[in-house]
Symmetry: C2
Subunit: 273 residues, 2 copies
C-alpha cells in the first residue's frame, strides 16, 4: 500500500489565470515534466472542445511535450478504446470545469476512474479546476445554494466523487460565490471530514502522501475544522431549518501557507523575498 | 452608570419580512409598547420617504400608537427643531436602510445621536435594519467588497458608528452577500472585537446590559471570535494581499439561540413546541 496516495493533487478553485503568469497551471506543468498530460473535459459540447484547445495551447507553452485531449460525452466514451489509449502512460491528468454531477455520472466506475487512481498511485499529478476540483474528494457538494442563504435545505446536496482525496470535502469559487454556509453544513453533518473552500485563481497542492497541502495563487483557501464542534442542528428532520453550529475552527490561508492535514494545523512558511 | 446600556438593541440584517408574520418588526413594536416610536431615514430622497410611509403603516398595524417619521437630508436637519420635537419623549427609535457612511456623516455628533443614546440609556429600544444595523457599533464596516474576493484591500474600510454597541462590529446582508471575508479581516485586525454577521430577515436582540443577545427571524447570525487567533497577516503594508488568519472560532446561530457576549459562548434555549 506504500504506493497509494503517493502522487500530487492540484485542486483549483476555478478561473485560474490563463493569460498572465499562469502560476497555478505552471505548478501542474512542472509536475508533468517531460511526460504525457491528458486533459479531460466531460459533457461540455462545443464549449468543452474550446476549453480543451485552450488548455492544450497553454500546457504546450508551459513546456509539456505530450498533451492529449479527451472529450467525454457519454459513459461509452469513458470506456472506449480512445479513452484507454489516452490514459496509457500518462504522467498527469487535468480535469477542466463543467458540472461535477454530470462528470461523475459519466466517469464514475469507468476505465478513466480506474486509470486516474493508478496514475496517482504511481506518483504522478492529478489536477482539476472548478467542478474538476470537487470530484477529487470522496463526497462532493453539488448544485443548490443559488440563493446564498443560511438555509440547510438545497445547500447540502452531496454525491460521490472520485475519492482521490481522503477525509476532505472541497468547495470551489469560494469567496466569489459566498459558499461558507454549505461548507459549514457539510462539516456539521460529519465533523470527521475537513471542509476546504478554494477561491478562484487559487489552488491547494496536496503532497507527501496527503499529509500536507500548500496554497498557491491569488486568493485564499478556507479550512473549516469541526472537530471541536459542541452543537449543531443537522439531522434529517431539520432540512427546512436554518443552520446552527457552535465552535467551528476556521483558518484562512493565502499563497505559501501550508496545512498539516492529519494534525489539522496551519503553518506559515517563510516567504522568499 | 447603572442606567447606561440598559435598553434593548434590535439589530436587523436587512430585508426583514414586512408582509407576512413580521416576526422581527413585531419584536420592535412589542418593546415600544404604548409609547412613541420615531422612524428615521437618512438621505434617501423619495425612496426614503416611501420607506418611512411603509414602516409607519406596519408599526401602526402592529399596535404602536404614536409613530413619528423623520427624514434627514442634511446635518442641519439633524439639529433642527423638528428633529428635537421628534425625539422628545420617544420610547423607541427605528433606523431604516440606506448608506451607513452617509447616515453617520449627517447624524454623527448631532442632537439625534445624543438623544438616541439617552433614549437607550433610559431603557428603551433602538432598532435598525441594513445600514441602520451597521451604525449601532463603535466602528462600522463600509463600502468595498463588491468583488467578493478574499483580498484585504477594499474589503476593510471602516468608519465610526453611533457606538451604542460596545466591542462588537456588525455586518449585514451576510450570507446573501458572501461577507465572511471582510468580517474575518476586521476581527483579525483587532481580535478584541467580536465580529457579528447578520443574514437578511434576521435580527440579534441585545438585552440585559449587553450581556446577552438572542437571534430571531429566518436566517442565521454568524459570530466570529478572534480571541484564540494565533496568526494573521493584517498590517498596513499588507493591504494588497490576500487575507490569512489562523484559529478563528466561528458560531452560526439561528432563531432562539442565545449568545453570552462577555463569556463569548453560544447557548441553545429549549424551543417551545
Amino acid at each position: 500500500m506504500a504506493g497509494k496516495r503517493s502522487g500530487t493533487l492540484v485542486i483549483i478553485g476555478g478561473a485560474e489565470d490563463r493569460e498572465g503568469r499562469k502560476e497555478i497551471l505552471n505548478e501542474v506543468a512542472d509536475r508533468v515534466g517531460r511526460g504525457k498530460l491528458v486533459i479531460i473535459t466531460v459533457g461540455g459540447g462545443k464549449k468543452g472542445d474550446e476549453s480543451l484547445d485552450e488548455y492544450e495551447q497553454i500546457f504546450r507553452t508551459l513546456g509539456v511535450p505530450h498533451v492529449y485531449k479527451l472529450a467525454i460525452a457519454s459513459r461509452e466514451d469513458a470506456r472506449s478504446g480512445k479513452a484507454e489509449r489516452a490514459m496509457d502512460e500518462a504522467s498527469g491528468v487535468f480535469f477542466t470545469g463543467g458540472d461535477q454531477l454530470e462528470t461523475m455520472s459519466r466517469i464514475g466506475d469507468s476505465l478513466i476512474s480506474t486509470r486516474v487512481h493508478e496514475i496517482y498511485a504511481a506518483g504522478h499529478v492529478i489536477a482539476g479546476t472548478s467542478s474538476g476540483a470537487s470530484i477529487m474528494s470522496e463526497t462532493m457538494l453539488i448544485g443548490g445554494n443559488s440563493d446564498e442563504s443560511s438555509k440547510i435545505r438545497g445547500s447540502l446536496q452531496m454525491a460521490p466523487g472520485l475519492g482521490l482525496l481522503k477525509g476532505i470535502i472541497i468547495d470551489q469559487h469560494f469567496a466569489e460565490r459566498g459558499r461558507i454556509t454549505r461548507l459549514l453544513g457539510a462539516v456539521a453533518q460529519n465533523p470527521a471530514v475537513l471542509g476546504i473552500g478554494i477561491d478562484e485563481d487559487t489552488a491547494m497542492i496536496v503532497e507527501n502522501h496527503q499529509r500536507r497541502f500548500t496554497v498557491c495563487g491569488n486568493g485564499a483557501v478556507y479550512v473549516v475544522d469541526g472537530k471541536e464542534v459542541t452543537y449543531s442542528n443537522l439531522s434529517a428532520e431539520m432540512q427546512d431549518e436554518t443552520l446552527s453550529v457552535y465552535d467551528v475552527r476556521l483558518h484562512v490561508l493565502s499563497r505559501g501557507h501550508q496545512f498539516e492535514i492529519k494534525e489539522r494545523r496551519p503553518e506559515m512558511v517563510e516567504a522568499e523575498v
